[in-house]
């Protein structure tokens, strides 16, 4: 498991989502990447029923990179608690439907092609909030390295070479607090959740 950086890619007005994905695919293939199947990250959100007191929210996420794992993040308002479990947790959530109910129309997913180029793996995801296309998230993972501080410059150089000037020169806010720590799959999930929350909010505005 290497360090992963998640980056939003802006869509210019005259382009649609699929055509932007196509453009990025062309670019990455021209750099020498080979496609290695598809990927999917999805997120479902549940809220506690009023009887349980102060409202808590549980986000349940799956990542095709860790297919046997369910990531769940509990938000109590003051704290966020991540929980990493195996696949049975999904069934447990169904059992708890009396206490935690899924919000309607909030399933978010990011899916698309997955590429490998050298030691990097690149994923071009189209984000959809309950089937409506919202934007594009590009995920770049540098697999040999496990500490973000050591390889951020290297990943930034790769990102800028491939996405152009839309890449900022400072690490994503979530990573900034974790630069010296060993990177875990949970950190990838946290980044996805942050982006998904932003996309969801934009959904409610419309």
């Amino acid at each position: 498991m290497g360090v992963t950086v998640l980056q939003q890619f802006p869509i210019v007005e005259q382009r649609t989502g699929p055509s932007t994905i196509e453009l990025l695919t062309k670019r990455i293939v021209a750099l020498g990447a080979t496609q290695q199947g598809q990927f999917l990250v999805d997120c479902e959100t549940y809220s506690s029923v009023p009887q349980l007191g102060a409202q808590k929210t549980v986000h349940v996420l799956h990542n095709s990179e860790q297919p046997a794992t369910v990531f769940s993040i509990l938000e109590t308002g003051s704290k966020t608690i991540p929980l990493i479990t195996d696949g049975l947790f999904d069934l447990l959530m169904m059992k708890m439907s009396n206490f935690y109910q899924s919000k309607k129309q909030t399933k978010v997913e990011s899916k698309g092609p997955r590429f490998e180029i050298g030691d990097f793996s690149v994923k071009l995801g189209s984000v959809a909030v309950s089937q409506n296309f919202k934007g594009i998230l590009v995920e770049v993972e540098y697999r040999p390295c496990i500490v973000p501080a050591m390889c951020w410059d290297l990943i930034r150089e790769f990102l800028q070479g491939f996405l152009g000037s839309s890449v900022s020169s400072t690490p994503p806010p979530y990573l900034q607090n974790k630069m010296q720590e060993v990177y875990t799959p949970n950190d990838t999930i946290q980044q996805y959740l942050e982006h998904f929350t932003v996309y969801r909010k934009s959904h409610f505005k419309m």
Binding site: G118, R143, P144, C145, I146, L154, E157
Partner: protein
């Protein structure tokens, strides 16, 4: 012409005999003491046996040198002579001959060219591999063998290296009694598995921390495969039969410079990436990072 060929055969024969007798020497050395040496004075018997074998090798070497000095080098490129007319052969079954002839002509021509170059290089560079000390007192001081060192000496040496760097931890295991295999963790960047033969570094594999400690499989990451390749080059570069401690220590110093494998840009092109790899080469003297293509 006839005489030339005969001499060539004699020389080749002499080389063959030399090779086979050298083979015997190594076989006898690797077998060590055998049962048929008996109990009494077995060391002396073994040494005598070795001496006899080495004398034979010496004689054979002299034979080879004599045979070689009798040879005359061919005056120049070979001429195809009348055989060129084979190209105008009309009979179907012989038409193939010309192609084969030209091929073998090309071969001999190449051999002539290469051997001339090789001969020139060998003349200018002495190929004596044995380190000779002429004064007796000095010879006593130098270690006669770096392959056969008492384990505690190696142990001391490895722990001295371990203390040298704070961000490098070494764990030792001895699957083959005398010769340790050490696992070097270099910060959170990589780990190296190094096999020793006495005080000589025999094999190095670089891997990610999450990968297995198996010494025979290479890393699944491109960057560590490259670093493994480069460390083999460094292993040969730092090989010093007369000063084995220094050789190992310099190698460790060099390996330690990989602590910045992912974070430091190439000294020459100032970029991090070149063909999707970070700078995987460290200069052997200055320890500066370079891409393979930039060094």
């Amino acid at each position: 012409m006839e005489r030339d060929v005969e001499q060539l055969h004699a020389a080749l024969n002499a080389v063959k005999i030399l090779r086979s007798n050298v083979g015997y020497v190594f076989e006898s050395v690797s077998n060590g003491l055998r049962a048929d040496h008996g109990e009494d004075g077995k060391d002396a018997k073994f040494v005598t046996e070795l001496q006899v074998l080495l004398t034979t090798v010496n004689n054979n070497l002299r034979d080879v040198e004599n045979a070689v000095s009798n040879l005359t080098s061919p005056p120049g490129a070979f001429n195809l002579g009348n055989t060129t007319y084979l190209s105008q052969e009309t009979t179907q079954e012989r038409q193939a001959l010309y192609g084969q002839l030209v091929n073998s002509y090309k071969w001999t021509d190449k051999i002539r060219e290469y051997s001339a170059v090789a001969g020139h290089i060998l003349q200018t560079n002495s190929i004596s591999k044995t380190y000779k000390t002429f004064s007796m007192t000095k010879r006593r001081k130098t270690q006669t063998s770096i392959h056969n060192v008492p384990p505690d000496v190696i142990e001391n040496h490895i722990s001295a290296i371990d203390r040298l760097f704070t961000d490098m931890t070494i764990t030792t295991s001895r699957p083959f009694v005398l010769n340790p295999i050490i696992q070097v963790s270099l910060g959170r960047v990589l780990k190296a598995i190094i096999a020793f033969k006495g005080l000589m570094i025999e094999w190095v594999v670089i891997k990610a921390h999450a990968e297995s400690n198996d010494i025979w499989t290479e890393s699944r990451y491109r960057v560590f495969q490259k670093v493994t390749e480069n460390s083999h080059a460094a292993m040969c570069h730092f090989y010093a039969p007369t000063m084995p401690e220094l050789g190992v220590r310099s190698f460790m110093h060099w390996l330690h410079s990989y602590i910045t494998l992912f974070s430091s840009p190439c000294k020459k092109c100032a970029n991090h990436l070149h063909s999707n790899l970070p700078p995987t080469w460290r200069d052997l003297r200055t320890l500066e990072p370079y891409h393979e293509e930039c060094k």
